[in-house]
């Protein structure tokens, strides 16, 4: 009894001691978290004020850099002070990059020259070699924005070594922006997945640069589904009519997503030669593909399609019926259809109506 009590008593004490330690641990951790929050907040406020002060100085300096031939003595001293402080020079660099985004023509070139002359691009090149991914990406942004095309070699080397998908995407976008021809051809040789976001980024870059010298559609089709889809989108972007026969041939693909993109591309490119083929394909396709076919045929605005639209508006799923009705509406509102054709099709519609029930027709 005595030994059980003392053993139990011993255990009881140690549980209480454990709880005391646990309580203190929780309170100390909570305390440190709050201290961190307070210090972090004060530091942010302090840094914000400091950055604002430096930004004000930098703004004056930048105005003179852009609009004057030379800096005055006072600003030369200021420039020297800023460039010799790593903190201030980072702010200065980010202000230059930010300002560059809103400048064009000679002024932006002047800023780029200044950036290079002060060897700021060397610091950016060092950043992109950093093992810290987000530091590398920040460096890429700087090189990209300031058009440091001499950085392509270094960027390419990093691209060859890295396995990180996110970094790869940034690297490829940077290369394309600095040298679109080289970048696009480099992209064709990569084995990566081109997600929609990356495709949007690349297309935006090509649009900004007004670059349309893209490898033809067939080359993209050999690389896998995401590349094939991107190839279709590039065709839509360039509106290269030479791609139309290739796209039409690829309509036989079993990949539904690719087929949809091909049909969309044919619509954007107004490839009316695909009209008959799309109509013939319609019946054997899934609802999603049928919807795309109808949307594309609507874009063609061909009066011969009216009968087809009428049939689809009656004999199909709700979604396709609605799209067919929209296509009919669009065709009737356009100038591409004459009264005789309308009259003929109304009779056709009446004949169909007598033998079918409409649903949800407005």
């Amino acid at each position: 009894m005595y030994s059980y009590t003392s053993k139990y008593a011993l255990l009881n004490i140690s549980i209480n001691q454990f709880l005391v330690i646990a309580i203190l641990s929780c309170l100390i951790m909570a305390f440190f978290l709050i201290i961190f929050v307070i210090i972090s907040r004060k530091r942010k406020i302090y840094l914000e004020k400091k950055v604002y002060r430096i930004q004000d100085q930098v703004q004056i300096l930048l105005s003179e850099i852009i609009f004057e031939e030379e800096l005055n003595a006072e600003n030369q001293l200021l420039e020297y002070q800023i460039l010799n402080s790593s903190f201030k020079s980072e702010i200065f660099k980010s202000e230059i990059v930010r300002l560059h985004k809103s400048l064009q023509g000679e002024l932006s070139l002047k800023l780029e020259d200044y950036f290079k002359s002060k060897k700021m691009h060397i610091n950016s090149l060092k950043k992109i070699k950093s093992p810290k991914k987000y530091k590398a990406i920040a460096g890429l942004e700087e090189l990209l924005e300031m058009n440091i095309d001499t950085a392509i070699y270094d960027i390419h080397k990093i691209l060859e070594k890295t396995n990180d998908i996110e970094l790869t995407n940034y690297l490829i976008c940077t290369i394309i922006k600095l040298n679109p021809s080289f970048g696009i051809n480099l992209l064709l040789n990569l084995n990566i997945e081109l997600n929609d976001w990356l495709q949007i980024s690349i297309l935006k870059i090509l649009e900004e640069l007004k670059f349309s010298d893209i490898p033809d559609c067939q080359k993209w089709m050999k690389k896998g589904e995401s590349f094939a889809i991107f190839g279709c989108r590039l065709s839509s972007y360039t509106k290269n009519t030479a791609d139309i026969p290739v796209l039409i041939e690829l309509l036989n693909t079993k990949e539904e997503n690719l087929k949809i993109e091909i049909i969309k591309a044919l619509g954007i490119m107004e490839a009316e030669e695909a009209n008959e083929i799309l109509i013939n394909k319609y019946l054997g396709e899934s609802t999603k593909v049928k919807e795309e076919i109808l949307k594309t045929l609507e874009l063609f605005k061909k009066s011969v399609n009216l009968k087809f639209f009428i049939r689809c508006s009656i004999k199909d799923t709700h979604e396709t019926q609605l799209l067919a009705l929209r296509a009919i509406n669009s065709l009737l509102n356009s100038n591409s259809i004459d009264l005789n054709t309308i009259d003929y099709n109304l009779k056709y519609l009446h004949a169909l109506n007598s033998s079918n029930k409409f649903s949800n027709v407005g």
Partner: protein
Amino acid sequence: MSDEIVKNIKHFIDSGLLIYSVFLMSSYIVLGMISVHTLKSYIKKNKNVKYTDLLPSFLAPSVSLIAPAYNEGLTIVENIRSLISLHYSNFEVIIINDGSKDDTLDKALNAYKMVSVDLNINEELKTKKIKNIYKSTLPAFKNLILIDKENGGKADALNAGINIASSKYVACIDVDCILEQDSILKLVKPFLDDKKRVIATGGVIRIVNSCEIKNGGITKISVPKSWIASMQVLEYLRAFLLGRMAWGKIDGLLLISGAFGMFDKEIVKLAGGYNTKTVGEDMELVVRMRRYMVDNKIPYTVKFIPDPLCWTEAPEDTNILGRQRNRWTRGTIETLWQHRIMFLNPKFGIVGLLSFPYWFFFELLAPIIEVLGIIWLVTSMILGLINWTFFLYISVFVYAFVILISMMAIYAEEITYYQYKSLNDIFKLVICAFLEPFLFHPFVIYSAIKGHIDYFQGKKSWGDMTRKGLKSVNT
């Protein structure tokens, strides 16, 4: 002998409660750590993302913003204006007047010069009768559609909106919420950059009480003046930044908030749309969509982003708050019961093996176990079985732990978007953390227990959720 039996029973119950508590607390710590780590990665990753690249792109997917409205006459005009002015290039706004008894419909029709149109509806999802559909004649509001229908509840109204929606993705929102200008851009991105098919995305819901609002946007963010709302701020920070962030990371999220979530319309329809028979329609839809994808063997994911995208009004009245928590409990029970086949079912992966059990044991049962624990405590006191020293230590430990979790939430807020700029707001949240276990938590437990009772009594209604309405600051 009977002493021995009593001691054994006590030991059994004490051990059971202890084991439950250890698991519960461990889960909070684990989720908290996963969340903080994920938040830090996300902030770094997101710094360089150019969301505006999507705006001019022909690849920008179409989005339908669907917002049911019931008796929103006070604020409907402003709410619609703020939705229409969101930064996105390819979207439509569908407002559903769900049989409002006030002047919601008239105000909207007059303000936006709306006329009745013949719009063909795909009634794939069955809803109450649609009386009329309106479109605006003003060019600036050409993407605005208003559906006038018979009252059928939020889920029914959302289904009507989904039927009309012509976009690939549908964003279902509460009409009186304030959305950040770039909220659609941010919510749509996960659909575009994930390898798997993303079927739903959600973001953080924040509390707008006491914030300054101007022209449909928030100009100054503060912790609410009311203590009830302040404690809800802390609660939401814990739930979103420490809870959902972690579940999103491991793809075990069961709930996208009904205040603002974006969904793949095709999957919503295939899964059957919103369930009109539950009061937790938001959670039930996500769970059902997940089940659909698994049953059809389609790889998929549900994403959560920590960006504060949506601001909503928190109840400051205890009656309304009680009704809200009551409804949340009933909704949880309904969903978990309806989809009980997922419980510990390896077919559903993380959702079946982790999320579902977590929700069952630690979200649903926690209030019941807590109340049973209190009853057992009182019983033990009466029977003279309490080891008072141990009881004091354990109570202080639980209190200290709860404070720690709240501080983690404040820390998570600080390292992400630190919306509360003033240090006074931080101090107020810290005070809330200390007071919450005594003032707010018991009320929440009481409402949850009442929710359980009401569920088993067959209560189905939402209850009156009157809001004050978000008013702009006059300049």
